[in-house]
Symmetry: none
Subunit: 317 residues, 2 copies
C-alpha cells in the first residue's frame, strides 16, 4: 500500500494510523505490526494525525448545564441561536471549545442543499473555528468576507479567515480587498465603488448567516495588536463610550452603533440584517464580557457561541 507520491506519504500514514487508533480502536502496538513499523513510529504517526488536525473530535451531547445556560441567554436577550460549551477552568485559551462548536455550526449551514450566502468576519476565534472545518464540496454556496484583509501598512492581515476557509470548503468565496479602516468617509466611498467591492457589499446584504468575532477595546484590543488601529485613536473611542467592535463597527455599552465619525470610515461590509439573517458571534473569556454584553443587549448579534463561564456572566449581568 502507499508507495506512490512521496510527499504526502507521511501524512497518509498518519491518517491511516490515526484512523486505526481513534476510529478502529486498535492499540499502537497493533498498528505498528499492521503497518510494519516500530511502536514508537506508530505513536508518532498517531500524534501527528492529531496535531495536524486530521482527526476531528466532537462531543455530541447537550450537556444539561450548558443547555440551560443557552436557553437562558436565548430568552433574556432574544437570541435566535445560542450554543454554550463547557468551560475549561484550567485553560487560558480563548478558543478551545468555541472553535469546535463554531465549526460544527458552520458545517451545519454548509451541509444545506439550498444555496446559502455565508458571511465571515475575522479574528483569532473565527480563524480557530474555520481551521476545524473538514474539507467539503459546496458548489451551491457563496462565502463572503465581511471585513477587509489589508493592514495599515498594505500587507495582508494574518487572521485571514476567508482564505483559510476557502482551503477547506470548495465554494465560491469573495474576499474584501480593502483595509479595515479608510482614512476618511470620502475615501471609503471611493473604495466601495470598486466593482469587486460592490460584489462583496451586495452579497453581504443577501447573506443568510454571518459568523463574526467580537472584539474588546482597550490598549490590548485585537484591532491594536494587529495594527489596524493606533493607540491614540483607541483612546479616543473608549472616551467616546465605545464598548466593543464587530468587524470594525464600534458600538457603545448599550450595543448601539457609535454615531461619531469613526464608523463612517469603517470599510467593512455592513452586518446583514438581524431580522432576516443570523449573525452569530463567537467569543468567550473575561476580557470580552463587556463587549459581548453590549452586543447581545443591543442586538448587534442575534446568535452566540460561547462557554459556560461567559454565559453565566451574561446571565447575571
Amino acid at each position: 500500500m502507499a508507495r506512490r507520491g512521496e510527499a504526502n506519504n507521511r501524512l497518509d500514514d498518519a491518517a491511516r494510523a490515526g484512523w486505526l487508533y481513534y476510529v478502529a480502536g486498535r492499540t499502537q502496538d497493533e498498528i505498528a505490526t499492521v503497518m510494519g513499523i516500530s511502536r514508537q513510529s506508530a505513536q508518532r504517526l498517531v500524534s501527528l494525525a492529531m496535531s495536524e488536525r486530521l482527526i476531528k473530535v466532537r462531543l455530541d451531547h447537550p450537556i444539561a448545564a450548558c443547555l440551560e445556560a443557552a436557553a437562558g441567554l436565548r430568552d433574556r436577550y432574544g437570541l435566535k441561536h445560542v450554543e454554550v460549551v463547557p468551560s475549561d477552568p484550567g485553560s487560558t485559551s480563548t478558543t478551545v471549545g468555541i472553535a469546535e462548536a463554531g465549526a460544527a455550526e458552520i458545517e451545519r449551514w454548509l451541509k444545506s442543499p439550498e444555496p446559502q450566502v455565508l458571511a465571515i468576519g475575522t479574528g483569532r476565534t473565527l480563524k480557530a473555528a474555520v481551521d476545524q472545518l473538514p474539507t467539503m464540496e459546496c458548489p451551491q454556496h457563496r462565502i463572503v468576507s465581511l471585513t477587509g484583509n489589508i493592514g495599515l501598512d498594505g500587507s495582508a492581515a494574518y487572521y485571514n479567515v476567508i482564505f483559510s476557509m476557502a482551503d477547506a470548503v470548495k465554494a465560491r468565496h469573495f474576499p474584501m480587498p480593502l483595509p479595515v479602516l479608510a482614512a476618511s468617509a470620502e475615501e471609503r466611498e471611493v473604495l466601495h465603488s470598486q466593482s469587486l467591492v460592490q460584489v462583496a457589499l451586495k452579497l453581504g446584504a443577501e447573506a443568510n448567516v454571518a459568523f463574526v468575532g467580537v472584539g474588546e477595546l482597550g490598549p490590548d484590543a485585537p484591532l491594536c495588536q494587529d495594527g489596524f488601529l493606533a493607540q491614540d485613536e483607541m483612546a479616543d473611542l473608549t472616551r467616546a463610550g465605545a464598548a466593543g467592535e464587530i468587524c470594525g463597527w464600534m458600538f457603545d455599552h448599550d450595543g448601539a452603533l457609535l454615531s461619531g465619525s469613526f464608523n463612517e470610515r469603517v470599510a467593512s461590509v455592513p452586518l446583514p440584517s438581524r431580522d432576516k439573517a443570523s449573525v452569530i458571534g463567537l467569543a468567550k473569556g473575561r476580557r470580552k464580557y463587556e463587549a459581548l454584553r453590549a452586543a447581545v443587549k443591543g442586538g448587534i448579534i442575534n446568535g452566540l457561541i460561547t462557554d459556560e463561564a461567559t454565559a453565566s456572566h451574561l446571565l447575571n449581568a
Copy 2:
C-alpha cells in the same frame, strides 16, 4: 457542578468528562480534580462517553473512505484481510494501486522469519503486483504456483507469475508444469500423478497464504484472451450459471463451486483451506464486480485487495 435533573446526570457527566478529555486534552487526573471525583470514576466516564457514542471521532483525509470501506467489507463478508486503495478515476488501468498494495502484502509475508508456504495464482493483476516486488532473500520460504502455465498449444503462458516472482525473490519455487485445463477428468488424474505435480499439490494444501486473481467470464474473459478456453465452452459455462473463476475453478453467482464436469477438468492446485490459510484476491474494476461479489459471498476468498470504487460496489450490492 452538574447537579440538576437526576436521570441524565451520569451521561451529562460522561459528556463533560469526554469533552475535557478528547476536546480539551486534559488528563483523567485533571478531570477527576475538576469534577471532584476519583481518577477511576473519571476514567469510567470518559470510557462511557466513548461507548455511548457521545464522542464522535472522524478522520478528515482521503484515506478515511478507504479504511472505512475496508472495515465494512471485512464485517459484511467475514473476510480476514481487506485492503482498499484509493480509486484513480482518470485511469483505466486494472492494476494501478492494487499492484502496489498487493506487492506490499506479499512482501509482508516474505519478511516473516518463520518459514511460509506462499501460493500464487496467475493473471494480469497478480503479474503487475509481483513486478513491484523488490529483490529479497527468503531461503526460508517456499512459493508454489496454483495453476498450470501451459497453454492449449503447449506454449508457456505469458502471465507466468511464479517465474517473475522467482526473479525477484530468492526462495524455492514450485511451478505447475501443466495446462490449466485437462481434456477430461481422467486426463487430469494422469497429469496429477506426475511426481513434480504431486509436490505442488502437497505444497498447495500446506500453504499459509494464497494470492489469486479473480477472473470474470464472458467473451472477453482473460481465460479466452489467453487461449485457455474456447468461446463455445465459455458460452456453455455462463449458461450453466458461472459467474467467475479463480485459478480456473468456476463458481456461480452465490460463490459456490460449479458442480458440472468443467471443474473436474481443471488441473490447478485446489485453493488452500479458507479456515487455515488466507486466500487473498486481487481485483478491481467494473468488469470484475460480478465475479468478485460471488467470490466474497461464497467465501471462495477470505481476503481482498481492491480499490475504493469496487469496494463501494461490493458494499452496496
